[in-house]
């Protein structure tokens, strides 16, 4: 809300420096967004919180300021307005508590007798309100000053009497700004005998609005219940000065005084025939709320030791009247402008606000007795640190991206779309981290990077039972021609697999299996799916070349993605004391069919040598010179040992021979 500095100083009858004024208002919860110079004055733009409807006016701000500074504030300049003729329309309040009070006046034969006041024009301009018609300008000016929105109708366009009621089925209204609104039954309207003439508390109807030609005017000033106005304008995608005020709550005792204030301004400038102010109230008209509170309530919540009189006087400054005391219970009456005060905590905040939050004590906290357990968050941080130690830089990407990107990769199935995206490139939640990391790669290649090793831990989303899952994804891209002088690291499938093996070892995750990948995103012959027992938990390998282009790239990269939530959070289990007896080793080299996998060979060794076997370590795979076509040479070292004795030469020879014969029989391998 934009307010002129001079208007506030006039209302508080003092002239604090603008910085001091703004500081004081900030300290009582009225935040200043910006201060701008304007026609030799200053515009202060306040960022009001939605609870403080009472501050949505110059007088409201002044009232709160004076309460804080303990200065006298007289809220209303009650004008004793009297009209000359009788208001001749009937006003019917059909909407119960939605509109329980309505004032109206008719004006005709308007003749300007004085120059239209500059300060009204200036005030409106500063507030960003367009000048429409002098009478409209005046009621808007009074709204800015007092907080009461009013509306001026062209009375000649109103047919018959006025009623306030909820909209009927299929009723429509064309509002100012040419918008045609289809109203629903929970929309409150002001109507004549024929149709709605205003969307109550929100906007006047275009067909009944004033123009230069208007001869007879009708001004409305009413009390609308905030809960009826709340959210309505937003539903149709707009907001007005009136709706903003009414939905936060406009003082229910203000409508008549504000209208009279406007009329006295009109009287000063114009010669006019003005009717009496017709005010209709029904039985639903609100009463001031009462709140019971005890001294203990206040002091327990604030950690203070305040006296009863202090609290009474603070609240009194805010026009919150002390009514009575019953044992420990103090009863206070909430003024008609404070819609935000309804429970005792609200009064406690008022006390704290006026004392000043900075003047309240600081009290040491007691420890709390609760159950502690290892959290996923710690696990996630450990994983992140593991990845950085493996040379990966952490990236963080938005969770949403362009639907087209998912479609190009064929992973749009079950994706969740955003109904109101900022733009198309942020329209759907990612089902995999791959597109995000690929975008990071493209970005960095375009900035001259030839090497990239990045990872992200973030959620992927899909319309499944679990709509979101934490994934760990990593990407390595290597197009560096000039390596470091002493290093020639090959970044291939086995490099990335090695890192993942380290990863599973680090977090003591066992029963991991690697199978040829079924993941369409990856190279069909150079990638693996990763299983924990028999559950698919991720994939690793080079990107399928057919996607390179659609990802905006021209060279392949290595990628992996793992579902972290599938992994067990293993603590360190039992530690086993190592054997004190020596380990025996033998090296083997076989020529074997090229299609036999290492997994098959390893299984064969395990089946063949059942006693004392500890491990098999592969140290060479070769299929070049001296090896027949379709064959490969494979060399490995087998280790045996016992926790009970040193193995004899004969025992080892026996096991070695079992391996040689097993390899021959089962896999057709020939010892070289």
């Amino acid at each position: 809300m934009k307010v002129l500095y001079s208007n506030i100083t006039k209302a508080i009858k003092a002239k604090p420096k603008i910085e001091n004024l703004c500081d004081d208002l900030t300290l009582i919860g009225i935040e200043v967004d910006e201060i701008k110079s304007f026609q030799g004055d200053k515009i202060i733009d306040f960022d009001l919180t939605p609870n403080r409807g009472d501050c949505f006016s110059v007088k409201g701000l002044a009232r709160d300021y004076c309460a804080y500074k303990d200065k006298k504030f007289s809220s209303a300049t009650k004008s004793s307005f009297k009209g000359e003729k009788k208001f001749n329309k009937k006003i019917n309040l059909f909407a119960k508590d939605a509109c329980s009070a309505y004032s109206a006046v008719s004006i005709s034969n308007l003749k300007l007798i004085k120059k239209f006041p500059d300060h009204i024009k200036k005030t409106l301009k500063a507030a960003g309100i367009q000048s429409i018609h002098p009478l409209v300008d005046i009621v808007n000016f009074v709204m800015l000053e007092s907080g009461q929105p009013m509306h001026v109708f062209d009375q000649d366009k109103i047919e018959g009497d006025i009623e306030v009621r909820f909209a009927k089925t299929k009723e429509q209204i064309k509002i100012l700004g040419e918008k045609n609104l289809k109203l629903t039954k929970d929309c409150l309207v002001i109507a004549d005998e024929k149709e709605p003439i205003a969307f109550a508390g929100i906007s006047g109807g275009l067909n009944h609005s004033v123009s230069k030609k208007t001869q007879n005017f009708l001004i409305e000033s009413a009390f609308f219940l905030p809960s009826i106005i709340k959210g309505k304008a937003r539903r149709y995608g707009f907001q007005t000065d009136a709706s903003q005020r009414f939905e936060r709550g406009v003082d229910f005792n203000l409508h008549e005084d504000a209208l009279k204030e406007a009329l006295s301004i009109i009287r000063e400038i114009y010669q006019a025939d003005i009717s009496n102010v017709e005010t209709i109230k029904n039985k639903y008209f609100p009463r001031k709320k009462l709140i019971n509170i005890s001294m203990e309530d206040v002091n327990l919540k604030l950690g203070t030791d305040l006296k009863e009189n202090t609290i009474k006087s603070i609240l009194n400054r805010l026009e919150i009247k002390f009514m009575k005391k019953n044992k420990n219970n103090l009863t206070f009456e909430v003024p008609s402008h404070r819609f935000d005060l309804s429970i005792k905590e609200d009064l406690i905040e008022e006390v704290a606000r006026i004392i000043g939050y900075d003047n309240l004590p600081q009290i040491k906290n007691n420890s709390i007795n609760q159950h502690y357990e290892k959290s996923d968050y710690d696990f996630i941080n450990q994983i992140k640190t593991f990845m950085t130690n493996k040379g990966f830089n952490e990236v963080i990407n938005y969770s949403f991206l362009d639907r087209q990107v998912l479609e190009n990769l064929g992973i749009e199935n079950k994706s969740i779309a955003i109904k109101n995206p900022l733009n198309n490139s942020l329209s759907v939640l990612r089902t995999s981290l791959l597109p995000s990391l690929a975008t990071n790669l493209e970005f960095n290649i375009n900035r001259g990077q030839n090497f990239l090793s990045i990872f992200e831990m973030g959620k992927s989303f899909s319309n499944d039972t679990h709509m979101e899952e934490i994934n760990l994804a990593g990407l390595i891209y290597d197009d560096e021609k000039f390596k470091n002088w002493n290093t020639n690291q090959n970044y291939d499938f086995y490099y990335l697999k090695g890192i993942l093996e380290n990863f599973f070892a680090e977090f003591r995750i066992e029963k991991i299996f690697w199978k040829k990948s079924q993941n369409d995103l990856l190279h069909p012959y150079a990638s693996a799916d990763i299983y924990l027992k028999n559950k698919l938990i991720g994939s690793v390998g080079s990107i399928n070349p057919r996607f390179i282009k659609s990802l905006g790239l021209n060279k392949a990269f290595l990628y992996f993605e793992i579902k972290v939530e599938s992994l067990p959070l293993n603590d360190l289990g039992k530690l086993i004391a190592p054997s004190i007896y020596p380990i025996s080793q033998r090296d083997f080299s076989f020529e074997i069919d090229n299609k036999v996998s290492f997994e098959q060979i390893e299984n064969c060794i395990h089946i063949s040598s059942k006693n004392f076997l500890i491990s098999t370590k592969i140290f060479d795979v070769y299929d070049g010179k001296n090896i027949s076509d379709g064959k490969k040479s494979i060399a490995f070292r087998v280790s045996w040992g016992s926790s009970k004795k040193t193995l004899s030469e004969e025992e080892i020879n026996k096991e070695a021979n079992l391996i040689i014969s097993g390899m021959q029989k089962k896999l057709g391998a020939i010892l070289r």
């Binding site: 900030t26 300290l27 009582i28 919860g29 935040e31 939605p50 709340k230 959210g231 937003r234 919540k301 604030l302 905590e345 406690i348 704290a352 939050y357 309240l360 004590p361 600081q362 009290i363 906290n365 709390i368 609760q370 959290s375 996923d376 968050y377 941080n381 640190t385 950085t388 130690n389 040379g391 990966f392 830089n393 952490e394 963080i396 990407n397 969770s399 949403f400 969740i416 779309a417 955003i418 109904k419 109101n420 995206p421 900022l422 939640l429 970005f443 960095n444 900035r447 990239l452 990045i454 990872f455 973030g458 959620k459 989303f461 979101e468 390596k483 470091n484 002493n486 290093t487 690291q489």
Partner: protein
């Protein structure tokens, strides 16, 4: 030749020795078939019997002198040999080491960790909740009913499956109370989403939310916790102010500002307050028995202040030159 002269020669010869070769030659010179000491020993039998033991003793002395000299020179020669071979191993220690790239954590991760480590050490349990939330947990349970103007403060992304992307980490408050009951002390870091974007706002950002529920929690406890945290995060001499604000889920509510050291401007860093009794009730606790405080801050803002980053968007550009610093 007299024995004393021989002794002097022996010592002199050993002094000049530097290599195994020379040592071998010396061995021949003194102890070879025609060596000096050998010759002397051969002479013994030609002497009269009473002189023999005297010469024998002297020759013995000469031999042990030879052994001593040999031992000491042997060490000298071995050291010389090792030193010579070490020379060949000379390297340029100023060349860089074998390449092993070291990655870096994202500045937001580091900032989050700095914050959660602090609260963790003060006995807070770290909790997380879903990023896809229901209207109920994101708004209703936090005392923000439909059509509440406070919903305007949250530009919400709605999803086609009827849910929304959480606009704050506060829903975790409710979920944690429901799950764990009270007393409760939790800290919840996480991603949140709002549909605005400019220099200071990104549609996705990070928050940390703290919640303490117990009997008789008051505003003084809240102030103390926040002040201790600010001392830790920004340093002891940081100027702080608390000012009234509005959040539907706290009452009283406060905004916390710190004074930026260079510009002397107040900067908003977090929102906080005593948990609104409606929220306590809605999460299934008795608001007459339990009270609590909650606080929340934007991690980007905290990162921006600690790393002196100008443009918030650089945190999400994922430029490796920025991240690998």
């Amino acid at each position: 030749m007299d024995l004393d002269a021989l002794k002097a020669n022996l010592k002199k010869d050993f002094q000049e020795i530097v290599s195994q070769d020379e040592l071998n030659k010396l061995k021949v010179k003194y102890l070879g078939k025609k060596g000096r000491i050998t010759e002397l020993s051969k002479n013994i039998k030609n002497l009269p019997s009473e002189e023999r033991p005297i010469l024998g003793k002297k020759i013995g002395e000469l031999r042990s002198l030879y052994e001593d000299l040999l031992n000491s020179v042997q060490e000298k020669i071995e050291l010389h040999i090792v030193n010579e071979s070490l020379e060949k191993d000379r390297i340029d220690v100023t060349l860089p080491g074998s390449f092993k790239s070291q990655g870096k954590l994202h500045p937001l991760t580091i900032t989050t960790k700095k914050i959660t480590d602090f609260f963790s050490s003060k006995g807070y349990l770290i909790e997380d909740g879903p990023e896809i939330e229901s209207d109920y947990y994101n708004f209703d349970a936090l005392n923000i009913p439909k059509d509440h103007p406070a919903r305007d403060m949250h530009d919400t992304f709605y999803l086609d499956n009827g849910n929304l992307l959480r606009t704050h980490t506060s829903p975790v408050q409710i979920r944690s109370i429901e799950k764990r009951g009270a007393p409760l002390k939790i800290i919840c870091p996480g991603k949140v989403y709002r549909s605005d974007a400019d220099k200071t706002h990104t549609p996705m950002f990070h928050q940390v939310e703290g919640l303490v529920i117990d009997e008789n929690i008051n505003f003084g406890h809240l102030k103390n916790e926040i002040m201790t945290f600010i001392d830790f995060f920004f340093g002891l001499d940081t100027k702080v102010r608390f000012r009234p604000s509005y959040f539907p889920f706290t009452e009283p509510s406060a905004e916390v500002d710190i004074m930026e050291k260079k510009s002397k401007n107040w900067l908003e860093i977090m929102g906080c307050g005593l948990v609104h009794p409606n929220v306590i009730e809605m999460s299934g606790l008795d608001s007459k028995k339990f009270s609590g405080f909650a606080f929340g801050m934007g991690i980007e803002r905290m990162a921006k202040l600690s790393y002196e980053i100008d443009d918030m968007r650089s945190l999400f550009s994922n430029d490796i030159k920025f991240l690998s610093q």
